[in-house]
Symmetry: C2
Subunit: 192 residues, 2 copies
């Protein structure tokens, strides 16, 4: 599907490229957030997954929460966020290890069994798809829970990091609102 | 102000008390989230702070994000979330240390200077007010930035942990949607 124009324009006007293929969108997506844009993103996910059968939205803290809750507001479906640290009050949790390149560390991600059930069909939402390490961790948690993943929705996909390949090969539906072909020479090139 | 009834009822019916004055609301507030309830919370904050002059909403990851973005959607004001780990891409950041009882650790919290300016009047939103350590950290960051805190809004205040005392003594406005008087004997007692 073609890029979501409102978001594409915003990335082109306010996004910043750093060395090493890093795209900073922290003035409107993942540090400071524009709630009107978030709600537009939520509505766009709702529309793109309108024919998809899911009963729950799953994301991962922290920057996945805003687009996921916006989709939740649009669809009235519950949102579960996977945690990056086990809270002292959490029991019966499922966990796995994910390597984070942004933080240069292995991160233990976890979710309570109570909120991922074998009967759940979940739509996974996150802000970025890069190499796809986080999605592998989420698939692992979903497999442990025995629930079904109905699809993956990303606000921004860095296509050149090929994170969607393993998802598509495994038969998952993937919708990225904006697909970036390249950040070479610190220039944002959108996929045609 | 009296408790926000929709939320009070939900806490009484679905909240769980654990030993040590812990209230679990992770089936609808801070692990699994009910987006309709979150939007009602956002609208209630918007209404309670309707006469308050602020141009920006500030919260802290992760469980503050959903109520803060709901208020942002209701008011069309930008939302900044303070981070608990410095991302490798963040420059010009302000930081301070907060002790987290839930995680039993000192946490470095940080925010980019770019998004907290001396001209900003910020409304601080968080899910819980307990002893108030996090709010002390946020006040420190706001002081470093030179911005003004217009008020504090909490989804749930554990009144018996006295976190609002230092805020009120410093002259801040505090609005908590639900004020819990006690969790003694693992029973939720609302403030009258």
């Amino acid at each position: 599907m073609s890029n979501f124009k409102i978001l594409e324009q915003r990335i082109l006007s306010e996004g910043k490229c750093l060395d090493g293929g890093i795209l900073k969108v922290d003035s409107f997506i993942n540090h400071q957030m524009d709630p009107d844009l978030m709600m537009a993103i939520g509505n766009e996910f709702a529309s793109r997954f309108g024919n998809c059968d899911y009963n729950k939205i799953v994301t991962i803290e922290a920057s996945g929460i805003a687009p996921a809750i916006a989709l939740g507001i649009a669809t009235h479906k519950p949102v579960v966020f996977i945690k990056k640290k086990k809270p002292s009050t959490m029991q019966n949790m499922l966990s796995t290890v994910v390597h984070s390149f942004t933080k240069n560390a292995d991160v233990n991600i976890c979710v309570s069994k109570e909120f991922l059930k074998p009967t759940d069909r979940v739509l996974v939402i996150d802000d970025f798809l890069a190499v796809g390490n986080t999605t592998r961790g989420i698939i692992d948690l979903a497999n442990q829970a025995g629930c079904t993943i109905a699809g993956f929705g990303f606000v921004i996909e860095k296509v050149f990091q090929k994170g969607s390949e393993h998802l598509l090969q495994s038969g998952y539906r993937v919708e990225s609102l904006v697909r970036i072909a390249s950040l070479e020479a610190n220039t944002i090139t959108m996929e045609k």
